[in-house]
Amino acid sequence: MSKDTELVKKLQNPALKDSAFSELLDVYQERLYWHIRKIVHTHENADDVLQNTFIRIYKSIANFQEKSSLHTWMYRIAYNESIRFLEKNNKKSYNNIDEVSESNLEVLFEDEYFDGDEIQKKLNIIIDGFKEKQKQIFQMKYFDDLSFRQISEILNVSESTLKSTYYTCVKIIEKKILM
């Protein structure tokens, strides 16, 4: 039995739920925070969405049927919560991250917890210019340190497609940064 399966069993047991949830936070809080932060950009927004994400996880864990891994399930919740947050804030509806306006990058550069130099700003702009899938694949692999197998489960894309997309992104970044 994997660690995640064991954790799910504890989370679905009312007597062990609270202690298991604390354990879940230790393992996934930081990863999910950065996943969310890259979508909503500012720390303040990411903090709000992270809280909402974990509250939703806590409430829904009893219905989690392990059709996907716990990790995949939580990433999807975090993604949906981020999109919901942006829709609510901008009073617009989005089908995906591509539709979120570029003005969000301006918000990121003005955030008090952003102190990137010109190259870091440039990297943010290049990544923001990727298509939704490219962006997700690159960020999950490079920044969230997920394996291709895990990304494949989350995005429902074959591993070979993921690998080629990821290396294409890397080449684009290197070319543009070093230009």
Binding site: F21, S22, L25, D26, Q29, E30, R31, Y33, W34, R37, K38, H43, D47, L50, Q51, F54, I55, Y58, L108, D111, Y113, F114, D115, G116, D117, I119, Q120, K121, L123, N124, K141, Y142, F143, D144, D145, V170, I173, E174, I177, L178
Partner: protein, 178 residues
């Protein structure tokens, strides 16, 4: 990252994966930071919020859901109801028309029976029926009507004479005496 950009262009800008601090990785490459001890404080804040939500849920009286249906099933149910109602109305109209046609056929059959039976009636019976009908319908009614007419004429004569007498008397008194 700066090293890679500053030193030489041949060296890859992006490292092949990392196994260290995820927050440091983001800080180094994207310039995004977090407050000090953020995750420890955030964990406490999330757990507190969950406790608070659980307490609020316990305090709130549970709504008793008498009947719940998913929205997509609601439309199906509404459509079914409309269909059943339409079918009922249509069937009712259909039955009425059927009854009317049946009635017409039955009455026509009845009329045919009378016609056939009338051909088989004996002449003497027919004469007797005619006499009785004539006596009842024509003679008796005619006599009654004649009697009523007599009464009417008699009454009118009596009434008119008395009115005339009164008038003459009054006129005479007025002209002679006055």
């Amino acid at each position: 990252m700066k090293k890679s950009t500053e030193n030489n262009n041949k060296k890859s800008f992006l490292k092949e994966g990392f196994k260290s601090d995820i927050s440091k990785h983001h800080k180094d490459y994207l310039g995004t930071g977090i407050p000090e001890d953020y995750f420890a404080k955030s964990k406490i804040s999330i757990l507190d919020k969950i406790k608070e939500e659980a307490r609020v849920e316990e305090e709130q009286p549970k709504k008793q859901l008498v009947f719940y249906m998913r929205p997509q099933f609601k439309y199906i149910a509404a459509a079914s109801l409309v269909f059943i109602l339409s079918l009922t109305v249509w069937l009712q109209n259909f039955d009425t028309k059927e009854d009317f046609n049946n009635l017409k056929i039955e009455s026509l059959a009845f009329e045919d029976d009378i016609l056939i039976e009338s051909l088989l009636v004996d002449d003497n019976d027919l004469d007797a029926f005619t006499d009785t009908t004539l006596f009842n319908e024509i003679v008796v009614k005619a006599e009654l009507k004649e009697q009523k007419l007599d009464n009417l004429i008699l009454n009118s004569l009596i009434v008119e004479d008395s009115l005339l007498d009164n008038y003459i008397n009054e006129e005479l008194i007025e002209t002679v005496i006055l």
